[in-house]
Amino acid sequence: MSNIPDDLSYTKEHEWISGLEDGLVATVGITAFAAEALGDVVYVQLPEVGSTVEAGDSIGEVESTKSVSDIYTPVGGEVVEVNQTLVDDPSLANSDPYGEGWMFKVRADGDAADLLSAEEYAALTSGES
């Protein structure tokens, strides 16, 4: 069973999001479940700072040894920061997916659609694992 922190929200695309409740800047990354399913992450492509994104857009990709996955943004708004440390060391997505492995920050201009609680996400992933 992978680690699913209680204080984050989740998406069906296996991303986590935090900071939404502040109405300010949300931080997004992929979950430990996603990182384990991918295997060693070798390349992360992130959106450009300053770009405007819409909820549900594919705004980047994660490559592992065996596969590649899109990164979707759960919220729309302006991308205000991306994790350059992760781009330089993609293995952080595996070793610390909820911390050093964060991916990008969005100044949200609306609500996120269809977010899951930790409990709901745990139920989703127990069906997939």
Binding site: G39, V42, K66
Partner: protein, 363 residues
């Protein structure tokens, strides 16, 4: 339901990610596949390959039957030696690539890919009918454990009295490992020195534990199919279903050297292969290294000036080169020196053509 190997419980206790592969439940990786890959390059890795097929041919005409059934000249193989070869259909299309071990004057073991083992056994039975030879699919009786990497010989030497130093590449001899009967073969699919141990199913678990303990001081790690794939790709070795298929002849795959026209007698596929042996193939199996970090993968188009000129058959990030690498069939007519790209989900990513293999070990 996928079939488990005799080592399934061991894999689970090691926390392996298991995957379906050719109808078998196999370890994909135990932890980081990059670490497993590097362990094989730098120390040693331990693989469960029990999904592979072991088909035995025995009898006075076993050698003749194989000469007819396969493209290689197996009657010329000395006892104790192994040979990489292929089985083709009447049209010359590759049904599987194989390693054949000569265990005695009248005894051979054919090792087939898991995905093709049943088909190969059936074909061998049909093709051997006119010969005084018995074909037996004994895949269920054997487990196969491989120790691969530069420290393999030292590790194995702690568990056997067999003359490993005298065991040359592509040879195999019966011996005992950890007190258990084994066919000890110096073969592999990683581009490293290493051994493959064919043992009885009931010996698989204790042998795995013995090898794990023996290898611990040398840095041996259990390694899954994910690292096996990246290791063979770096070594430029073809994978059936990717670089090889029934739609391609050995010549199409750039492996015409395995076809031995000078052996006596007819063999299945001879006339079809003789007709194409001097025709340059339309496409050539080509090694590509990406300039960027996005990975060309199986099925992606190879392009030049916007036109499709080939297709990627295998691709992966290369641990050893630090860049993505790929094998691709590329049109023979084009100048592949400059301007090649791979269409990676809509973006043309530049690639350079390199000599194969991508990686060659220091001997």
């Amino acid at each position: 339901m996928s079939r488990p190997t005799p080592l399934r419980d061991v894999h689970e206790s090691l926390g392996a990610t298991l995957t379906d592969f050719a109808g078998w439940l196999m370890p994909l990786r135990y932890g980081s596949e990059s670490a497993e890959h590097n362990a094989v390059r730098q120390a040693a890795g331990l693989f469960d390959l029990s999904h592979m097929g072991e088909i035995f041919l025995t009898g006075p005409q076993a050698a003749d039957a194989l000469d007819y059934a396969l493209v290689g000249h197996l009657s010329a193989l000395a006892t104790g030696r192994a040979r990489y070869t292929m089985i083709v259909d009447e049209r010359g299309g590759v049904l599987d690539d194989l390693i054949v071990y000569r265990l005695g004057d009248e005894e051979f073991m054919v090792v087939a890919n898991a995905s093709n083992a049943g088909k190969v056994a059936d074909e061998l039975m049909t093709r051997a009918k006119a010969y005084d030879a018995r074909v037996e699919d004994r895949s269920d009786e054997y487990a196969l454990i491989a120790v691969q990497g530069p420290r393999s010989q030292e590790i194995l030497a702690t568990l056997t009295d067999a003359d490993l130093a005298g065991l040359k590449y592509y040879t195999g001899l019966p011996g005992r490992v950890d007190g258990r009967e084994a066919l000890i073969a110096r073969t592999g699919y990683t581009g490293e020195d290493g051994f493959e141990l064919f043992v009885a199913v009931q010996d698989a678990v204790p042998l795995w534990h013995a090898l794990t303990a023996a290898g611990e001081p040398y840095g041996l790690k259990p390694a899954g199919l994910s690292s096996r794939d990246t290791l063979r790709l770096e070594a430029g070795m073809p994978l059936y279903g990717n670089e090889l298929s029934a739609e391609l002849t050995p010549f199409d795959a750039g492996m015409g050297r395995v076809v031995k026209f000078d052996k006596p007698g007819d063999f299945v596929g001879r006339s079809a292969l003789e007709a194409v042996k001097d025709t340059p193939p339309r496409r050539r199996l080509t090694g590509l290294v990406a300039r960027g970090r996005r990975v060309p993968r199986h099925g992606y188009p190879v392009t030049k000036d916007g036109a499709v000129v080939g297709e990627v058959t295998s691709g992966a990030p290369s641990q050893t080169l630090g860049k993505p690498i790929a094998l691709a069939y590329v049109d023979a007519g084009i100048d592949a020196g400059e301007g090649l790209a791979v269409d990676i989900r809509g973006r043309q990513e530049p690639v350079d053509v390199v000599e194969l293999p991508f990686y060659r070990r220091n001997k």
